[in-house]
Amino acid sequence: MNIDQGSAFGVDVFSVPVARAVVIMYYRKTFIYAALVVILLAGCDGGTEPDGQTPDPLEVVWTYQT
């Protein structure tokens, strides 16, 4: 493997079968990250949180016990 000839993550891009495998792995990670981002956003857009609870619409700024 010759890194100087152009490589993706240290893999010889001219080795097609290896490169295809690496690209698939690379995009699989991307899909996983994208899915995580979607899940996180779903928890922040006023919908239900990951635990199924509806987020509080109000923030308790302070309380005073009489």
Partner: protein
């Protein structure tokens, strides 16, 4: 009551508190000698007024919490004193005594008596003082003399505060009806059957074309000024405080006896939040970007809406 960055409220522990609205720190506390069921009223910013189950009405310096004067009514005063532009203060006690005193030094102008206790906050216009009574009547007295003008019989005690809106006296009764009366002669304009006792004030909708009111069955109904139901929301537990709106919107905020706070718009729930394990009987004070509400466990809350990003 909110004045200049401070909030003022009474408690069943017999004290009226002034808190800094930013951090909830106590500025002063004024002991009254009995539970405070009256709201705090303000006059020209400098002084606040409130009644107490001790039987006294107090005038207290807004910023120092020092009493200027107090008036001994003799029996618990649970009505919020109503001040008029003539620098007069109107209130009543649980023995049925009605008072008009001066705001400056608490001198008596007149007194009157009705057959039963009064816990309904009065409304005063240029001519009359209106209030409900435990005997089921709504009374109107001459604001200058205290003389009887008219009375109207409902089917249950009238402890809800009075509202005058678009030349209608609007008040709920524990008979479950919301009444609209003519302020001139007490004639019935209309009544709406809400299904269970009404104890809280009617809240005008933005535009003053309808009112919201809560019921013991947990409903908050919106009724127009012809007595026609516009919307209804079931909160699941009694709503005894008045709903409160803020700004040019139809939405109102209210609490119920499950300790939950709701915002409802046109009969549809915007949101709800479990605030306390104790009932919320009081009316929330809704300022749009902040809401103050007290619960029966003696806790006052400041709650701010969380902005959606």
């Amino acid at each position: 009551m909110r004045i200049g960055g401070y909030i003022f409220f009474g408690s069943d522990d017999g004290t009226v508190y002034c808190l800094d609205e930013d951090d909830g720190s106590r500025v002063w506390a004024f002991p009254t000698g009995g539970p405070v069921r009256s709201d705090v009223e303000n006059f020209l910013v400098s002084y606040i007024y409130f009644g107490s189950d001790s039987g006294r009405v107090f005038c207290v310096d807004t910023w120092t919490g020092v009493a200027r004067w107090s008036y001994d009514a003799g029996d618990p005063v649970r009505t919020t004193p109503y001040f008029s532009s003539a620098s007069l203060l109107y209130f009543a006690d649980t023995a049925g005594d009605v008072f008009c005193i001066t705001t400056g030094d608490g001198d008596v102008v007149w007194t009157a008596q009705v057959p039963a206790g009064v816990e309904s906050d009065p409304y005063v216009d240029a001519e009359r003082v209106y209030f409900g009574c435990d005997d089921g009547y709504v009374y109107a007295l001459d604001a200058d003399t205290g003389a009887d003008v008219w009375s109207y019989a409902t089917g249950g005690s009238v402890t809800a505060p009075m509202l005058k809106l678009m030349e209608q006296i609007i008040v709920g009764s524990q008979d479950g009806f919301l009444y609209s009366l003519d302020p001139e002669d007490g004639a019935l304009n209309w009544r709406y059957d809400a299904g269970s006792a009404i104890r809280g004030a009617a809240c005008p909708r933005y535009g003053a074309d309808a009112v919201f009111v809560g019921t013991d069955d947990g409903l908050v109904v919106c009724v127009d000024l012809d007595g026609t139901l516009l919307s209804e929301f079931d909160s699941g537990a009694a709503v005894t405080g008045a709903p409160d709106g803020y700004g040019p919107v139809y939405a109102v905020v209210f609490g119920n006896h499950d300790g939950r706070l709701f915002q409802v718009d046109d009969g549809e729930e915007d949101w709800r939040m479990d605030v306390s394990d104790s009932p919320i009987q009081a009316s929330p004070a809704n300022y749009g970007d902040m809401i103050f509400v007290g619960a029966d466990d003696g806790v006052m809350y400041r709650l701010d809406p969380i902005e959606e990003e």
